[in-house]
């Protein structure tokens, strides 16, 4: 039986979402996406620079990939909404990741503005994927606001510090009915696997793949980590114990 994630009106089988920033070039980015089998990628919207004629990233994203434009650059709900509408007008579907950040040191998302943007965009028919600082009450508001999923950060963007917010993520997984997609700070395949073992629906990884020495292989490693973690979760992880429990019974020789 296939293990499918149904979210935002679409079905995906690969639970690794890849962010497209920071790759050495678009060719490597494309190969990394292909090698990992990722079906969803995030992209950003920026003002065109007439002096530096960069290539069109859309030419390097494999056909069939679902695009999740993000509202990076937005400092408040209004800007996030504006970016989302522009992204949809560009014809890349109705998915949008809300990213509202004013904190320049830790790039912490503004949960309050994110909730507002979610309400507005969900009403306009977007499949809204809000990036947030894990907080159960905020997550519940996002559910009410009509989000398609909730994307809690693991640790600061680009920090590769792993699941520092693990306990809060665990609470979200237990209490929130929407898919929980861990996004930001995942630095190793083992950390992606850990998020999946906890019951996350998917993970988003960018920096750890794009800035690896070999991004293409790293993308593959992450994909394998995500699959391993998911499979372990579905297989029913054994409980942890305080004391040892022998693997085999005592044999009745050696005087016992």
């Amino acid at each position: 039986m296939r293990d499918i994630l149904t979210v935002g009106g679409l079905e995906i089988e690969n639970r690794l979402i890849i962010g497209t920033g920071k790759f050495p070039n678009y060719r490597i980015m494309e190969e990394a996406i292909r090698r990992s089998g990722a079906q969803v990628v995030t992209i950003a919207l920026r003002r065109m620079d007439f002096d530096s004629r960069e290539e069109n990233i859309l030419n390097y994203i494999p056909k069939g990939c679902i695009l999740m434009p993000n509202t990076s650059g937005a400092r408040n709900a209004e800007e996030a909404v504006r970016i989302a509408r522009i992204a949809r007008a560009a014809g890349c579907g109705n998915w949008v990741k809300i990213e509202v950040i004013t904190d320049q040191r830790y790039l912490m998302p503004d949960n309050e503005e994110t909730i507002k943007a979610t309400y507005t965009l969900a009403k306009e028919g977007f499949a809204v994927f809000p990036y947030m600082n894990p907080d159960l009450i905020v997550a519940k508001r996002l559910v009410e606001a009509g989000a398609a999923a909730v994307m809690p950060l693991g640790s600061p963007i680009g920090s590769n510090r792993g699941l520092k917010t693990k306990e809060m993520i665990r609470i979200l997984i237990h209490e929130v009915e929407l898919p929980i997609i861990v996004d930001a700070g995942i630095g190793r395949p083992s950390e992606a696997a850990e998020a999946m073992e906890m019951g996350a629906a998917a993970v988003l990884v960018n920096t750890a793949i794009a800035t690896a020495r070999d991004p293409v292989s790293m993308a593959q490693a992450f994909s394998m980590g995500v699959r391993a973690g998911r499979m372990a979760y579905l297989a029913g992880l054994a409980s942890t114990k305080e004391f040892a429990e022998a693997s085999s019974p005592l044999t009745g020789f050696l005087g016992r």
């Binding site: 992209i43 950003a44 065109m48 069109n56 434009p69």
Partner: protein, 52 residues
Amino acid sequence: MDLETYLRSKGVRKEEVVVELNLEIIEPERWKETKLKENDNLEILRFMGGGR
């Protein structure tokens, strides 16, 4: 000058951009009939890799 002429003069292809004029999104079909005026706020946007 109309929007289409302006964009063509900049070498912009319609598949790669979204145009926002005074906070309103203008689809390519309307570029020819849209005239640019002084003090217009024109944003030409495209996708690129990344996020924050």
